[in-house]
């Protein structure tokens, strides 16, 4: 029973890691770039939602407030790509890594200046309430997190597999020059994907915030989400989600049954083991580079 309880909480936490990881994978799948500011985008989205929803701030109803935050964050993501990231178009991958790390710090500073560094709570209509199923207590926020994550993953998968835009994004990442030649507006596409990733980050942020207080440093969660994305194999949407869930489940179990300190290390140990044994993740799309 205890294990089941831990398992469900772990899956819900893992879904949040998975959602942040989905943000990475979106950008990586479409632009071959890695956005190290994804965790901070999540944080910023959560704070935007808080600014719109909380009664002390603007006091909008919950759903419209969150949607508005997602839209604004989508704009922020689009703007970041349009103004800064596009300048690095065609430059080595690593400069984008450093650039996005710096961007993350800027986002954290902006959020801290506007909303302060003390933890605050997002007012949601569902947090704090729970459901009892045969001895296992499940919080509403856990159920909503799992449901929303599932739906979002399906939507994003459909976006990449079915829509014109998604196919164009895949084409642009597989071979940029060829995509240009067949008329894909690669740069604009990249900006749109960044916007989309910002919106996904906002939803992850809201789900995270409904489980507890938030402060500008929660963006560091992005590192764990990275581990999730790597375990799943960068570039695979279901892989990212499953990687996130794996981490989310292992963490509380390790905290409960293993000596202290192991739990904090566990995501990274799993990741290193995966990197060493299956360098391309569990859901590999990469084959060895041939010379």
């Amino acid at each position: 029973m205890e294990v089941l309880q831990l398992l469900i909480g772990g899956i819900a936490t893992g879904c949040i890691y998975g959602l942040v990881a989905l943000g990475f994978v979106l950008i990586y799948k479409a632009t071959e770039g890695v956005n190290f500011a994804q965790g901070d985008m999540m944080m910023f989205g959560a704070f935007l939602a808080l600014g719109f929803v909380n009664s002390g701030h603007m006091g909008l109803p919950f759903l419209p407030g969150v949607l508005l935050a997602a839209i604004v964050m989508g704009g922020v993501g689009y703007g970041i790509d349009r103004v800064v990231v596009r300048q690095l178009f065609g430059q080595p991958q690593f400069s984008l890594v450093i650039l996005t790390i710096a961007l993350g710090f800027v986002l954290r500073f902006v959020a801290g200046t506007i909303w302060g560094y003390t933890p605050v709570v997002l007012e949601t209509p569902y947090s704090g309430r729970s459901l009892s199923l045969g001895g296992v207590i499940i919080g509403y926020e856990d159920i909503i997190t799992i449901l929303v994550t599932g739906v979002l993953t399906l939507l994003l998968w459909a976006f990449f597999a079915k829509t014109r835009l998604g196919l164009a994004a895949q084409a642009a990442s597989q071979n940029q020059m060829a995509a240009y030649i067949v008329g894909v507006p690669v740069q604009r596409l990249n900006s749109i994907i960044w916007g989309l990733s910002g919106a996904v980050a906002t939803i992850a942020g809201v789900l995270y915030a409904s489980k507890g207080a938030i402060d500008p440093n929660i963006g560091l969660l992005g590192i764990k989400a990275f581990a999730a994305a790597v375990i799943g194999g960068f570039g695979s949407l279901p892989g990212a989600l499953l990687g996130g869930i794996l981490i989310g489940v292992v963490e509380p179990l390790a905290a409960r049954y293993l000596p202290s300190g192991i739990s904090q290390m566990s995501p990274y140990v799993i990741m290193l083991v995966v990197l060493v044994t299956r360098p391309n993740g569990l859901f590999s799309q990469i084959q060895a580079k041939k010379v």
């Binding site: 690593f94 400069s95 800027v106 581990a227 290390m265 990197l275 990469i286």
Partner: protein, 364 residues
């Protein structure tokens, strides 16, 4: 333009192009050595700090600048160096033994980690080093008997042959010690770069395929570079421990890793000089901010009320450099120098960056 008449083949690979360039370096070292007589204790401590950062920057430069491998976790090696050095000295070993051992420990650890790590390509390696950093940070907390855990550890003052090198009591001596170590490492580094090993680092950075074709063992070269880099960073960590005096795991946070990246990127990737330029910038900006704070305070503007301002300013500087001057401060210096030596023949496009179209490494 100066031309050098070469009378032996050795001149081709000499460290310095001519006596003039050798004299300039010597002059620089002399100026640095005379610094304790010219400035007060506060600025001398800052100078020592800058030198330590430059040493750590050189450590990362070997890896990022000269071998082209990214690392987001070099604070881990700083921590290993600092803790090894402090723990060995607390166990009664003299500095002259514990300090090289600290570098060795970090280097061996780096090389062992590198063997699986360097098989990964860019992004994966960056993430793996990040994970490595988190693991080392947790290990520091777990290994409480050695590291003092959350409480921290005290780095004893250095004494060599009866002369004190304490950071507070004999600051000038400490400064000279740091300077001597930095000069020695810089000299070794510069020589490394003209040896076959150093050349193979550059070859691996510029083209893995052609390096392999020329018979270089790419994995071994990368692992060696990783180990050397970790070792030098470990040395810097040992000195940093003595500089801080009393530290715990928080002294080597993820922000230190980022700051180190900032040092090499802003200074200029691929130049030893870049590490020094970057270190000067990273230690000078907080000072300038403090001066600015006092100055603006007189005008009724209080910027100390904004927490995290210096991190934000660092980040903005970093973004500016990546977007507008990826070659860093030293690269800019070289461009200005080229403009004047070639005057009036310099053209705008001489330093144009190459753009490449991205192709995925997935689904090939």
């Amino acid at each position: 333009m100066r031309f050098v008449f070469k009378t032996s083949y050795d001149r081709d690979i000499d460290l310095h192009k001519d006596g003039w360039s050798r004299a300039r370096i010597a002059l620089l070292v002399v100026i640095f050595a005379l610094l304790p007589f010219a400035v007060g204790d506060y600025y001398l401590a800052e100078a020592a700090n800058t030198l330590i950062w430059a040493l750590a920057g050189m450590g990362l430069m070997i890896l990022v600048g000269h071998t082209g491998l990214p690392s987001l976790g070099h604070a881990a090696f700083l921590a290993i160096g600092a803790y090894t050095d402090a723990a060995l000295m607390n166990a009664g070993l003299p500095f002259l033994v514990s300090f090289p051992l600290a570098g060795l420990a970090a280097g061996v650890f780096g090389a062992i980690v590198a063997i699986p790590a360097v098989r990964m390509s860019g992004i994966y390696l960056a993430i793996a080093t990040l994970a490595l950093f988190v693991i080392v940070e947790e290990m520091v907390i777990i290994l409480e008997p050695i590291t003092g855990g959350v409480g921290g550890i005290f780095a004893p003052s250095i004494e060599i042959a009866g002369i004190g090198f304490d950071r507070y009591a004999n600051l000038a001596n400490f400064y000279w010690l740091v300077l001597a170590i930095v000069v020695a490492v810089t000299w070794c580094y510069a020589n490394l770069l003209r040896s076959p090993t150093g050349r193979s680092f550059l070859a691996v950075r510029d083209s893995e395929v052609s390096a392999r074709a020329l018979g270089i063992n790419v994995t071994a070269t990368r692992a060696l570079s990783f180990g050397l880099s970790a070792g030098v960073t470990g040395l810097a960590g040992g000195l940093m421990g003595h500089f801080i005096g009393f530290f715990n795991y928080e002294a080597f946070s993820i922000f230190i890793s980022i700051n180190l990246l900032l040092v090499v990127t802003i200074g200029g990737l691929g130049f030893i000089q870049g590490a020094f330029f970057g270190a000067i910038l990273i230690t000078a900006v907080p000072q300038l901010l403090a001066i600015l704070r006092d100055g603006l305070g007189g005008w009724g503007v209080d910027i100390s009320a904004i927490p995290g301002l210096d991190t934000a300013i660092f980040s903005l500087i970093l973004i500016g450099f990546i977007v507008y001057e990826p070659a860093g401060l030293y690269g800019r210096y070289l461009k200005i120098k080229a403009y004047f030596t070639l005057f009036p023949l310099a053209r705008r496009d001489m330093f144009r960056r190459n753009k490449t179209y991205v192709k995925t490494e997935r689904m090939r």
